[in-house]
Subunit: 344 residues, 2 copies
Amino acid sequence: MNNATLKDLAALAGVSPATASRVLSGHPATSARARQAVEAAVRELDFVPNAQARALRSTRSDTIGLLVSDIRNPFFADLAHTIEQAALNLGYVTLLGNANENTQQHDRYINALISRQVDGIIVAPQGDSSDAIKSLTSRSIPTVFVDRIIPGVDVPSVTTDSDAGIRQAVSHLVGLGHDRIGYIAGPQTVSTGRDRLSSFTAALAANGLTVDPDLIFYGNFQAASGSAAVHALLSVPHPPTALFAADSLMAVGALAVVHRLGLQIGVDIAIVTFDDIEWFALLDPPLSVVSHSVEDMGRIAVELLVDVMNGGRPKSVCQTSELIIRGSSAHAILPRTAELRGSN
Amino acid sequence: MNNATLKDLAALAGVSPATASRVLSGHPATSARARQAVEAAVRELDFVPNAQARALRSTRSDTIGLLVSDIRNPFFADLAHTIEQAALNLGYVTLLGNANENTQQHDRYINALISRQVDGIIVAPQGDSSDAIKSLTSRSIPTVFVDRIIPGVDVPSVTTDSDAGIRQAVSHLVGLGHDRIGYIAGPQTVSTGRDRLSSFTAALAANGLTVDPDLIFYGNFQAASGSAAVHALLSVPHPPTALFAADSLMAVGALAVVHRLGLQIGVDIAIVTFDDIEWFALLDPPLSVVSHSVEDMGRIAVELLVDVMNGGRPKSVCQTSELIIRGSSAHAILPRTAELRGSN
DNA sequence: TATGGTTATGGAAACGATTCCATGGAATCG
DNA sequence: CGATTCCATGGAATCGTTTCCATAACCATA
C-alpha cells in the first residue's frame, strides 16, 4: 500500500494540500494553473485518494450497504445486480452482504456495515428479528427495506403486491377446470411468505372456492421444501390438479419431483410459480409465472434510499404483479390426470 | 449517525481513550476493572467502533474486495457465496463488486476497492485488459486471480484444469457413437475460453478425430450466443450429433433452441456442458456436465489471499475437473437422429 | 530500605483527507 | 486614486481511532 498521499501530490504540483483537495473535489475556487498542475501530478503518481480518510473527515463514504437473503437465489442475484448498477450511476459503491438465510450472519453484516459508515443501507430483512435493524434506526442510518418488510418497523420499503398476479393465476387455473389447486407456501415468518398465502386464499374465495388445508404445504423458500411439497400434496385423498409455488426455488424443487413421477407438466398437472426467473422460460414446457419487475424494484429501492439520505421521508412503494401464461398451464384439465395420479 | 465515539465511551467508563481502545482490541495489558467498566459502557452506549478511523490509523481494514464477472451467472453467484463465507470465518468482510462483463466498470470497481484500502482483492479478471490490474500490483496490494487469469501477470491464482473433464466428455461421446461433436466456445479473449477450446481439440485428437472448423462456434459466455450457436451448428452440411457448451449460460441458450426445434435431448442430440449448476440436475433430462468444485475454488482463493497478505508468495493452484454423466448424453446415437435433422 | 522489573494507565502524536478562516492580490467601482 | 469586493490560496484544526512513550503504582528481591 505504498500510496502517494495528498501531501505528496500537493508537493509535486507545487500547491498546498488544501488547494489540491479543492481541485480533486471540483471546488469552484481553483485557478486553471492549479488545476492543470494537480491533474498532471495525479497522472504522474497514479494517485487514488484514501476513501477512509475522506469518509472520516467528511462523514460520508459514498458507499451504500446491501444485504440480501441469499445471493444464490436468482431473484436476489438479479436484485443485487440492478441495485448495484443504479447505485453506481449515482456515484455510490455497493457493499454487498449475504445473510445466507441466517439471522446471526444477518446481524453480523449489519454491524459491519454500520462500522464502515455506509451512507445508507438497503436490506431484505431476515424473518421478524428486528434487533439488529433497531440498531440501524436508533442510529438514524438511512435504511430501506426491499422485497420484504418487518411489521411495525417504520422504514420505507419497496415490495410487491401479490394480490393481482395471484388472483389472475387462480382465475386462469379455475378457467381451465382446476378446482383443487395445491399451494406451496413460503415461511410464515417472512412477510412475503405471509402475503402470498393470504393473496392465494383471497383469490380462491373470489373464485368461489374454499380453502382446503390439505392443499397447503408450508415450505421455506428453498428447493428441497418444494420437492417435499409435491410428495405431500399428491398423496392426499383428493390430490390437486394444479400447483402454485410461492417462490422460484421451491418451484425448481417441485419440478424435479414432478418430472421424476413421470407427470407431464402442463398436461397431467399445471404448474405456476411466483418470481419470473429467466431460466423458467427456457424449460420444456416453459413455466407460467406471476411476474414482478426486479429491475423496477432495484431502481426504486435506490431512489427511496437516496431520498432518505437527503433527509426526505418517502412513502413506501408497492409494485403490482401479473400473470404470464406459458406452457406449464396452457391446457384445460384432462380426464387422464386423475387416472395417472391413481397409479402413483 | 449519532454514534458514540471512543472518547465518550472512555468518559463513561472512567478511563482514558487509550485504555478503552486496548480493551476493545484485546490488548493484554488491561486490568479486570478496566475491562469490566469498558464492556459495560459498550453495552450501555451500543458502541460500534468507527472502522474508517481504525483503518486510517492501523492501515488495515479487515476487508477484502471481490470482483466477479457477472453476479447473475450462477457459477459466480456460488463462488461469491463461498468466498464470502470463508472470508467471514477469518474475520474479513467482503466487498463484492460486479464487473458485469464490462471493462470500464471493472476498472471503476478496482479503483473503488483500492481507495477503500481493502487488505486484499480476489478478482476474476475481465478479458486481457491488465491496466487496472497493474495499478493493483504496482501498489503491491495483495491480489489473487480466481477462475480466470491474465497471461503474463504474475499473480497467484486458482483455476480449473479443463483437460481431464473435457477429455472424459469427448471419450464418453465418442463411445456412444458420436464422431461429429459441435463445440460452443467461450470468448477467446478470456483465459477460460481459450483453455477449454484447446482441451477440446486435444481431446478430439486423443480420440482419433480431427477438428472441423464448421463445428466450432465462438460465443461470449452469455445465453444468447448459445442459442445462436445451435442455429449455426445445426445448419452446416454435416451437422453434429452432440453439442458441448463451454459454460452454463451458453448451455441454457442452447437448450432453449434445441427444445424449440423439437429435438429430444439425450436421444436426438446429446448435450454436455462445462460448469455444474444445481439446476442442470433438475432438467428433463438432467444435463451431463463437466464439474469442478466451486466450493474448493472459493476456499482456496481465500487461503491464497491470506497467504499473500501475510507476505507469502504461494504457488497457484489448478483444480481438476471431471465428467458427470446424466440423461442428456445417456443413450447411444440412434439412426433417427440424422432423419430428424434432415427435416429441419 | 533501596532497587529493579512488571503492569496498567494516560497524554499526545500520528493516519490522510476536508474545510474553516485569514490573507494577499487583482479587479471593480465610485 | 482609494475603498470595496472577489477569488485563489495556504495554514491549521479536525474527524475517531491506534500506538508510542513516559509515568506511576505495585510487588518482590537483595
